[in-house]
Subunit: 157 residues, 2 copies
């Protein structure tokens, strides 16, 4: 069997298990490094009462925990569905280089999921995103940034 198919089958298996146990939506993901699965995740929004517990987020956290590092430069992410903007940004933050997916955001929208709607909101300027936005205390935040910048022993990421 093709490697891609093998890893996607595992993501599909995790997703199916999550649906059967009613953990959340029908989504699974694995993180692969050097042809080995190092992170596994399936949607657990309902089970964990956590709106951020998407399959990809959990798979990335799992792989990072296993490797003890917050970047996954050589990793591939296999997801049963195109990542939502939260998970896509997490993929960028983790510096994952390759993404393989099966269903897409249109398919998820047909099931009633908001991935596509959120994507569209995020292409608008923040004040038009549907969220009420205010900006305050910019000077205090700048002081904080200077504190961080002055710390020679910090770990950048």
């Amino acid at each position: 069997m093709d490697k891609d198919d093998r890893f996607m089958l595992e993501a599909l298996r995790l997703a199916r298990q999550g649906v059967e146990q009613r953990h959340g939506g029908p989504f699974g993901a694995v993180v692969v490094v050097d042809d080995e699965i190092l992170g596994r995740g399936w949607n657990q929004v309902v089970a964990r009462n956590d709106p951020t517990a998407h399959a990809e987020i959990l798979a990335i956290r799992d792989a990072c925990a296993r490797l003890g590092q917050f970047h996954l430069e050589r990793a591939s992410l296999y997801s049963t569905c195109e990542p939502c903007p939260m998970c896509l940004a997490a993929t960028h933050w983790a510096r994952i280089g390759t993404l393989v997916f099966a269903a897409d955001a249109e398919d998820a929208a047909r099931l009633g999921f908001h991935d596509k709607a959120i994507m569209q909101k995020m292409h608008k300027p923040l004040p038009l995103s549907g969220i009420q936005v205010r900006r305050i205390m910019q000077d205090s935040a700048q002081e904080l940034f200077e504190l961080w910048q002055a710390d020679q022993a910090k770990t950048p990421y």
Copy 2:
């Protein structure tokens, strides 16, 4: 003191504590419901080896855990910095209605953080995002979606 300022001061305090303990970047956040802080977070990317451990994500997870629910319709999110796309999408998933922030993505970019770069990548179609993308096994994902759709006892979100 103005309510907004009071909540932002707590977010700034958390961020400062995180910088002092070298947990990660200079970012803090609180989730407020009915004038009460129900969720707290500060950047812990370095401390937890978790690229998703941004202040806002942790504050949202904290508030949801406390309330035992995955939506925060009446909540406001106070963040010391404009949320990155991961955190903004999480704000949408959590159905948070109000966002108050201090520094913005430009300020964070001056510190070397990638919020703005990731935002720009996400405004492009996926194949131009800098991540290698492949799509496979769409039929298997559809079968999984049908399994979920057929389950009458599921919890939608």
